[in-house]
């Protein structure tokens, strides 16, 4: 059984093919990093997996069920959650409310208009707990739009993992953070994705080689290498196409 | 047959008038993402100004002066109003133009009173152009066709042949790219808004004496123009043209069709009596529900083709 599997996935925007036949298998519990130059199609791949865009051809399965024809909310309910490269939060809602929203569906509230939020003890405790975990407790009642950049990134991660999805997709979670902030964020990611399947896009090679069980290199919409860190690091194709250029 | 030809011509006249309004609205929407609720209000201002100006200098100079004034009003609205609320988001911009509708409405009533204006077709054009099957076709309607056709042509040339036109065209298809091109976006916005208002003003000048120049004319025209724009597909000038002509035809033809659904059922041996709501819907003749058709059609097209007839982008 694979947690997430892609079979020859392709995506065209107009006449240009951006994703050109990606095949990928991710085992449950795996920490899988995707690297690749700017514009390689990493974010697009996430958008395809999470249902934001329809795929042009191919197959995507989550826990052995097809999800490639489904809308985002159904994919999420099936146990896949993603974050965004460009922070995507509920600007006018407080930090606490943002987290509570992220918890609602998974805790079975659905579209309830008969249960009062303030009386849902388990829900509120869980949201408070997350708040502590993200180190945002002091910002609890501030509109999320007023947080600092790093705080918003932390919230973004928190909202992604809140629902308890088994497969987590993080798109450059540490982009634009300082070193200490990155360290803190990585520790957080490690902690909150314990026992989950993690698929992460990341540019920081130190972070990638530190965290990943498997690394996939995507260049121009194609996978040019995939495997354990050592193998990928020593792969010539990767060195030529990508890593070499980076380490120059 | 005679009714058919006459209705066809009338539908064309009305459709072209609609297009003059709708094209400006579409251009503004495509560029700025703002649906200008006050567009029909500018149309009304155009009619009133034309009336006022033509009393002093005659109809033909007014044909030029009034639209220019409307363009200036449009530029003022954009510079001192819309631009200020832009950073508050689309809803704020919609609300702003929505508020303008009230002010123009009452402003016109205050300035010119509640009664219709004696804004008449100029004597020079006040004669029957030709007769078909004994019915007259007024020369003024032909003149309207001429003006709106000429405007269609010049807008088209402007879009195809000038720099601003190219930018606008780019904006129609790639709304987010224009600012990336490094053009003076506020300037382009003002130009487009003023241009749209100018077209609306021109429509007002020739529509004001075709219909009646009275304070209710914006209210009567506004919804139809929106229907046209949405029906044709927001952002598509071609769709807008087709929708305008279609709506013009529907409006004129519906008036002459004196049949109802019940009439269709009668040959089947079903006789209906209009004694409850459902039966009434079935027995009312098409001629009477003509006013209802455009809205029903708009709702239907949004349900089944959310982007409208020829729209290429989401709203």
């Amino acid at each position: 059984m694979t947690a997430l599997s892609l079979r020859d996935v392709r995506k065209n925007f107009g006449a240009t093919e951006i994703i050109r036949g990606v095949t990928l298998d991710i085992q449950p519990g795996e920490r899988h990093c995707i690297i690749g130059p700017n514009g390689a199609g990493k974010t697009t791949l996430f958008n395809l997996i999470s249902g934001r865009f329809p795929i042009t051809s191919g197959e995507i399965s989550l826990n052995n069920t097809r999800i490639d024809q489904q809308p985002p909310h159904l994919i999420n309910r099936a146990g896949l959650s993603r974050s965004f490269q460009i922070t995507s939060i509920f600007q006018r809602l407080s930090v606490f409310e943002n987290l509570r929203c992220a918890l609602l569906w998974s805790m079975g509230y659905r579209y309830s208009f008969w249960s009062a939020l303030w009386r849902q003890k388990a829900l509120n405790e869980k949201a408070e707990f997350l708040l502590e975990d993200l180190n945002l407790a002091s910002r609890r009642d501030i509109p999320a739009g007023l947080l600092s950049y790093a705080e918003q990134r932390a919230l973004e991660i928190g909202m992604t993992i809140a629902g308890g999805a088994s497969v987590i997709l993080l798109d450059e979670p540490t982009a634009g953070m300082s070193n200490t902030e990155t360290d803190y964020a990585m520790a957080l990611i490690r902690r909150v994705t314990q026992g989950k399947t993690l698929l992460m896009v990341e540019h920081d090679m130190k972070v990638v080689f530190d965290l990943a069980d498997t690394i996939t290199v995507l260049v121009y919409g194609q996978v040019i290498a995939s495997g354990p860190p050592e193998t990928v690091r020593s792969s010539r194709a990767v060195q030529e196409a990508y890593l070499g250029a980076l380490e120059e | 047959m005679e009714i058919f030809v006459i209705s066809l011509l009338n539908g064309l006249v009305y459709g072209m008038l609609l297009f003059m309004l709708a094209s400006g609205l579409t251009l503004i929407f495509s560029m700025m993402g703002v649906l200008n609720f006050a567009h029909a209000s500018i149309y009304m201002i155009g009619a009133y100004l034309a009336f006022q100006v033509s009393r002093v200098v005659g109809f033909f100079p007014a044909l030029i002066i009034a639209p220019l004034l409307c363009g200036a009003i449009g530029a003022a609205i954009e510079i001192w109003g819309l631009r200020k609320v832009h950073h508050n988001g689309h809803i704020a911009e919609l609300l702003f133009t929505f508020g303008l509708v009230f002010i123009v409405q009452r402003g016109v009533q205050m300035t010119w009173g509640m009664l219709p204006m004696p804004y008449r077709v100029p004597a020079l054009l006040d004669f029957p152009l030709f007769q078909i099957y004994g019915a007259n076709f007024p020369a003024y309607r032909a003149f309207m066709l001429l003006i709106s056709g000429g405007m269609l042509l010049s807008t088209w040339l402007l879009l195809k042949k000038t720099r601003v036109g190219l930018i606008i065209q780019a904006a129609l298809t790639h709304p987010n790219m224009v600012s990336a091109l490094g053009h003076n976006v506020p300037m382009v916005f003002t130009t487009v808004f003023a241009g749209g208002c100018l077209l609306a003003g021109l429509a007002g000048v020739i529509g004001g004496n075709y219909q009646t120049t009275e304070p209710g004319m914006a209210e009567a025209m506004g919804p139809i123009v929106f229907v046209v724009v949405v029906f044709g597909g927001l952002g598509s000038l071609a769709g807008c043209f087709i929708a305008s002509i279609l709506m013009g035809m529907i409006q004129t033809f519906a008036v002459v069709i004196d049949y109802s659904v019940a009439d269709l059922l009668r040959p089947l041996g079903l006789a209906l009596k209009a004694d409850n709501l459902l039966m009434e819907v079935l027995t009312v003749p098409i001629a009477r529900i003509g006013a209802l058709l455009p809205f029903a059609m708009m709702i239907l097209i949004l349900l089944f083709r959310p982007r409208g007839l020829m729209g290429t982008r989401d709203t």
Partner: protein
């Protein structure tokens, strides 16, 4: 937090007490007669509070700009006329007190249908499809006589002789209290809805439609439910309208009322729950007060609305709330002088504007109706240049002066809030 929470609670208690007491302040205890004008204005306020609150379920809470809200108000009203007629004829054995619930269900029913269509669309197209729905229903109301009664509307008699409390509803006072109770029920329920998962997700889809999808919610369903529920409350409002006026015409359903709902909610403020209540009360006061004095009250409302959109997008309640932190820090007094300095130029500006508007409208509309402009008991010659000149000078001078003072005010405000931020950080 708790302090301001308590403060808010006392405001509510005070508002309810006021609503209960006001009719008695105008009651003539010698003759035992009520003030009909006050009662009908208060009743109107109740309905408008329901209308604007339910409208804000869309605009403020879900970010939906609807142009057909009156449709659900109106349909509730029309249906209620038929319910009352049936009840009067004995074929609907329901007491008066629960009839507004039926009106609400009618509103809900129609909102389910139209909401399904409209919430397929977002943003501008949503506004357009709701405009289409509103126009469709308004046109239909004029066209179909069996249900809507055409131009004349439909009439009824509210004395159906069936009440839980043995009331006849012959007096305006009884009707007012019925309206008040239903307004409280509706406002309470709508407040409750803001504190439920659906209400919260409506806020979420307003802020970020896309993100909500990646949290398991279908934003369209959220909006559909929110739209339908708001139709339910609007329907109750329409039912109360029918009960009060015993006649429902096209006015209860047409675009101007939808626009009114928008104006009330926006001017009052869409960001706070109570904002639309403030707006409804204020606009109704203006409507019944100013429209007695002047033809042009719509101009004033329109200008107020546009100024709000431009300068105070959070509405009146937003303006008040912005003072909260400063008040909490005990620094409100430092704003007194800057405020006082705004008063004179502001009054001059308003005076000039009102003067011009009134002169204008008396020149045209007023003259047509044979009215004369009378100020402080003396007729004003609107043909003379003097009043026009004074108005223009007031308008321009006041405007320029106000601009100047507003800048100074802004500086004080900025330094105050910057101070507060500093203190927070320490």
């Amino acid at each position: 937090m708790t302090r301001s929470g308590n403060g808010a609670r006392w405001i509510w208690v005070f508002a309810v007490a006021l609503a209960l007491a006001v009719p008695w302040a105008f009651h003539n205890f010698q003759t035992g007669r009520d003030s009909g004008f006050v009662l009908s204005m208060l009743s109107q306020m109740g309905m408008m509070v329901i209308l604007s609150l339910s409208y804000n379920m869309l605009l403020g809470q879900a970010g939906l700009f609807s142009l057909c809200h009156a449709t659900f108000f109106g349909i509730g009203g029309y249906a209620t006329v038929h319910f009352l007629n049936a009840a009067g004829a004995g074929s609907l054995p329901l007491p008066m007190e629960v009839i507004p619930l039926l009106s609400g269900l009618t509103g809900l029913g129609l909102a389910l249908i139209f909401g399904y269509m409209a919430t397929k669309q977002r943003a501008t197209a949503f506004a357009m499809i709701t405009m289409g729905i509103g126009e469709l229903m308004a046109t239909a109301a004029l066209m179909f006589h069996s249900f809507f009664g055409g131009e004349g509307g439909v009439t009824t008699n509210r004395m159906i002789d069936h009440s839980l409390f043995g009331l006849t509803y012959a007096s305006g006072m009884q009707v007012y209290y019925l309206i008040l109770v239903w307004t409280l029920i509706c406002a309470g329920s709508m407040y409750f809805l803001t504190q439920t998962p659906l209400g919260r997700m409506a806020n979420a889809t307003r802020d970020n439609y896309e993100r909500a999808q990646f949290m398991g919610y279908d934003p369209r369903v959220v909006r559909f439910l929110q739209f339908s529920l708001s139709g339910l409350f609007a329907g109750v409002g329409g039912g109360l309208y029918a009960i009060t006026y015993e006649i429902v015409t096209f006015d209860a359903l047409a675009a101007p009322l939808s626009a009114n709902a928008l104006l009330m909610a926006y001017i009052g403020g869409t960001t706070v729950f109570g904002g639309p209540i403030l707006g409804a009360v204020l606009i109704t006061l203006l409507q019944s007060g100013v429209s007695l004095l002047s033809n042009s009250w719509l101009v004033y409302v329109g200008v107020l609305f546009i100024s709000m959109v431009m300068f105070a997008p959070a509405g009146l309640s937003g303006l008040i709330i912005a003072h909260g932190p400063i008040a909490a820090a005990g620094r409100l007094r430092r704003l007194t002088v800057p405020y006082l300095r705004l008063v004179v130029p502001f009054l001059a500006l308003v005076l000039g504007f009102v003067g011009l508007v009134e002169l204008m409208s008396f020149l045209t509309i007023g003259a047509a109706q044979g009215k004369k402009l009378v100020l402080f008991g003396s007729a004003i010659n609107i043909e003379a240049t003097q009043p026009w000149l004074i108005s223009v000078v007031c308008l321009l001078g006041g405007g320029a002066w106000l601009r100047w003072e507003a800048r100074a005010f802004h500086r004080v405000w900025e330094s105050l809030t910057a101070d507060l931020k500093q203190r927070d950080r320490v």
